[in-house]
């Protein structure tokens, strides 16, 4: 994920990279719980809840300028709001993969969390 430029994001948000690092740590702590929560709500077919989870994830990703993740989350949020379907679970690995890519990129900058 070469597009994710941590220094540029820090500059845009008027943070130092170390300040940004604290936020990244919190973000990924939350992301760990994100996917199990998603699978759980999809299993019980609570698509509205699924949509809310995606909404929160979208906002956090957008704040940190993780554009692709924000787009994926928004798409899933919309589908959940529209009634969605169990097949949305099939797309979660895509989201998971993208999270891993971003994480790798950030860990490459800061070292492993």
């Amino acid at each position: 994920m070469t597009e994710y430029d941590i220094e540029a994001v820090a500059e845009e948000l008027m943070f130092t990279t170390s300040e940004l690092q604290e936020i990244f740590e919190i973000y990924f702590d939350e992301a760990v719980h994100l996917l199990p929560d998603c699978y759980a709500v999809l299993e019980r077919q609570d698509y509205m809840e699924f949509s809310k989870i995606m909404h929160g994830f979208k906002g956090a990703s957008a704040n940190l300028r993780m554009k692709k993740l924000a787009q994926l989350a928004e798409e899933l949020e919309k589908r959940g709001k529209a009634g969605g379907g169990a097949e949305m679970a099939l797309e979660l690995p895509l989201l998971e993969k993208e999270i891993d890519v971003v994480r790798d990129c950030i860990e490459a900058f800061y070292g492993k969390f």
Binding site: E12, L13, M14, F15, E19, E22, I23, I26, Y27, D29, E30, K52, H55, G56, F57, K58, G59, A60, A62, N63, L64, R65, A70
Partner: protein, 783 residues
């Protein structure tokens, strides 16, 4: 004619003019001359012919007089008289023969008259004595003789000319003769009156008579005729016609003794001249063809035509020459003027100057001078254009340099300002900690100096942004009363320190809620009011807002800041709004400041399409004013609170980069990463942040806490932001309190903002959070 003149060229007009003024009179003169000449010639011919006819008549009468003389001589011979007196008695044969011989002898003595055919004497007794061309006189035309006798008897003339007649002597060689007759008479004693006793006839030769006139000196085309009293032709050029009768109708036209007229004779127009003899009523007539007369005037006509043709040719040549001399230069000048207009003229072209000293020569000369001037003007224009291009390039370079300078200034100011915030913020935090009086004083100096420095930096930054065209005005609803009060409050502290009174007045005709950029308007008013306090030692500062004009929804409001301070000279007033300019150098030393405040205010006012100015007399205070057009508030914007006077809750002059001070913010956000990010951002601008993770906690915190502003995530567990806002607003009901709630949501759909405002939120900021936007919105709403 007018159309013809309008349609034709100058050459054609000139030609027509010459033809009218020269050729037309020439034609008139020519025709008149021709007609007069013709009349004169005809008159001369008439006079000449009449004189000729007179001579011919004289000649004829001379011939007749010869005959009449002969008759007179014969009449006087006694022997003949005796024969005639006794003629009524027939003599015996011997006597008769003797008488015959004697009379014959007598008569033969008179036969030498040229043209004489015969002399005949008749007695009433039937005797006939004859001498002439024949000896056989037995046969005579008795009826003719009697007729002549009767005519002669009736005539009062001594001799009667019977005209051309048959010869009485049947055997004469001349069957047609001209006969003159005389009647012999004797006085009858019984009747006592004269009685005819005999007749004397003299027959004259027609051929001889013809010869006498045939050689007359008449023109070959002229014919002459002598007509007797019985309209018989006695003489005519055409001999065959002699003795024939002339048309009586023609003869009726010969009413005078002499005269002339024109008549159609046998299809030919003839000039007729006639003269009647008083001797025998014979008429001499001449016929001259009119064509012959006119022929003499043809020369005049032809000469006139030739002269006319020559004149015409000369006129045309003259017109063409004039055209070449006058019209051609004019045409050339016209063409060149067209080329000048189209910009295709050759700068080097000049018209050849003429040697003459007339108007055309002058025109060419001055046109060439004009072309010289035009060439010089073109060169000057090109030089000017070149200079302008250079100037434009220099201007662009200068503007680019100015922009670069402004950007550099902005960047530098920003870079300087950024560390200033923590300096001031940390200083204020330190001031809240236990300090020794000396430390507190020193820290106050640090804080105040920092703030002063920040003010200067902010001024420079503002000015740079305005110069770089980077200032974007807002169009939001605001409460003008609140804004004026805020300005008054802000300068109130310093004013009170100087013992100044502050008076505010707002025109009641101005709507409470207007739409515009309240931040920038506040900046202008605060600058003007701040200056008023700065330059006034005693008296009053008056802040007024007056409605100048209303057009539809636009309100032109005049803001006035009047002071009783030192005032300004006229010269200082003129340059006051220029950047880096103060009233005079001593002002900077005495009062400080960058001199940018009024310049920024002027530019901001102009950005709002307003004006700014000052009326002042030195030593008598100053009246600063600005007229700003503002729109009346739209009813559907910020409808939840737009009618409240506390929509704009003035706290401080909050310019970008300045620490916001201790603003307490309640952050309602469930996502921990978002919480951390927002907290860091808010703390960086000096805010105190209390975080709650759902709407319910937010409602509780809002009721219990002393927050200046709530940042509310819309979607949260347990209670979302909308419900929480409704609950908070419900709790505020019937209280003067109104805490600004700013929605903070990742929803960026159209209508989200309206949804937030409809539940009572005051503003809206979308995720991803933009630090600058967050700062601005807190600046705007912090209380």
């Amino acid at each position: 004619m007018k159309r013809i003149f309008q349609r034709h060229s100058l050459t054609a007009k000139f030609l027509i003019f010459l033809l009218i003024t020269s050729v037309f009179p020439l034609i008139v003169v020519g025709i008149t001359s021709f007609e007069i000449s013709k009349a004169i010639i005809q008159d001369e011919v008439r006079q000449y012919t009449e004189a000729l006819m007179d001579k011919q008549k004289d000649y004829m009468e001379l011939l007749l007089e010869e005959v009449e003389s002969l008759i007179a001589n014969l009449s006087s011979i006694e022997d003949i008289k005796d024969v005639l007196i006794d003629g009524d008695q027939l003599p015996d044969d011997y006597t008769n023969l003797a008488t015959q011989a004697k009379i014959g002898y007598i008569l033969s003595g008179y036969t030498n008259l040229k043209g004489l055919v015969s002399i005949d004497v008749f007695t009433l007794g039937g005797m006939h004595y004859h001498v002439g061309d024949t000896l056989n006189v037995k046969e005579i035309r008795s009826d003719l003789k009697n007729s002549i006798l009767a005519e002669a008897t009736a005539s009062k003339r001594a001799v009667t000319w019977t005209g051309i007649e048959d010869n009485v002597n049947i055997n004469s060689t001349q069957q047609k003769v001209i006969t003159a007759a005389k009647v012999f008479r004797k006085f009858d004693l019984q009747d006592m009156q004269e009685k005819p006793v005999g007749l004397l006839l003299v027959n004259y030769n027609v051929d001889y008579f013809y010869d006498r006139f045939s050689h007359s000196t008449l023109d070959p085309d002229t014919t002459m005729m002598i007509v007797d009293q019985s309209n018989r032709i006695v003489f005519y050029t055409d001999k065959e016609k002699i003795a024939s009768k002339v048309d009586p109708d023609f003869m009726k036209r010969l009413t005078q003794r002499q005269g002339s007229f024109v008549d159609d004779i046998n299809g030919q127009e003839m000039f007729v001249t006639y003269n009647k003899s008083s001797k025998n009523d014979w008429t001499i007539i001449s016929f001259i063809p009119v064509q012959k007369l006119i022929a003499k005037t043809v020369t005049i006509r032809n000469t006139t035509l030739i002269v006319f043709g020559i004149c015409l040719l000369v006129i045309i040549l003259f017109a063409l020459t004039m055209s070449k001399k006058v019209v051609r230069p004019i045409r050339k000048i016209t063409t060149l003027f067209k080329e000048i207009k189209e910009g295709t003229i050759d700068d080097k072209i000049r018209l050849p100057e003429m040697s003459s000293n007339d108007e055309i020569s002058e025109l060419i000369k001055w046109f060439n001078v004009f072309l010289d001037g035009l060439g010089e003007k073109r060169k000057a224009d090109e030089a000017l254009s070149h200079s302008l291009e250079q100037l434009e390039r220099a201007k662009e370079a200068s503007e680019a340099a100015n922009r670069a300078k402004s950007e550099f200034l902005a960047n530098m100011s920003h870079e300087i300002r950024t560390p200033m915030n923590p300096i001031i913020g940390m200083t204020e935090l330190l001031l809240d900690t236990p300090l020794t009086p000396e430390q507190h004083e020193q820290l106050c100096i640090v804080r105040n100096s920092g703030k002063a420095l920040l003010d200067i930096i902010n001024d420079i930054l503002d000015f740079s942004k305005i110069e770089a065209g980077k200032v974007v005005l807002e169009q939001i609803n605001f409460n003008l009363v609140g804004l004026i009060v805020e300005v008054a409050d802000l300068i109130g502290c310093k004013a009170r320190d100087k013992g100044l009174e502050i008076v505010t007045y707002i025109d009641p005709l101005i709507p409470l809620i207007l739409q515009g950029d309240p931040g920038r308007l506040r900046q202008i008013l605060l600058n003007l009011a701040g200056n008023a306090v700065k330059f006034t030692e005693t008296g009053t500062i008056t802040i007024r807002a007056i409605l100048m004009r209303q057009v539809a929804t636009q309100f032109d409001i005049r803001f006035e800041i009047k002071d009783t301070g030192v005032g300004l000279s006229e010269e200082a007033s003129r340059r006051l709004f220029q950047p880096f300019t103060q009233a005079d150098g001593s002002t900077t030393r005495k009062y400080g400041g960058t001199g940018l405040g009024l310049s920024i205010s002027k530019r901001l006012a102009e950005l709002m399409t307003g004006v700014i100015g000052v009326d002042s007399t030195e030593g008598q205070g100053a009246l600063f004013y600005c007229v700003i057009p503002l729109q009346v508030a739209k009813p559907n914007q910020d409808s939840g609170n737009s009618n409240r006077a506390d929509v704009v809750m003035p706290l401080s002059v909050v310019l970008e980069g300045k620490p916001l001070g201790r603003i307490r913010i309640l952050l309602a956000e469930d996502n921990k990463a978002n919480q951390k990010l927002a907290m860091l951002l808010l703390q960086k601008i000096g805010c105190e942040v209390i975080v709650v993770t759902n709407g319910r906690d937010a409602v509780v915190a809002a009721q219990g806490g002393n927050h200046d502003l709530i940042l509310m995530d819309c979607q949260m567990p347990e209670m979302d932001g909308f419900e929480a806002t409704i609950a908070i607003r419900g709790a505020e009901k019937n209280t003067p309190r109104h805490i600004p709630i700013i929605a903070m949501t990742a929803n960026a759909m159209q209508g989200d903002r309206e949804k937030c405002l409809s539940v009572g939120m005051d503003d809206y900021i979308s995720k991803p959070i933009n630090p600058k936007q967050l700062r601005q919105i807190i600046e705007r709403w912090s209380v």
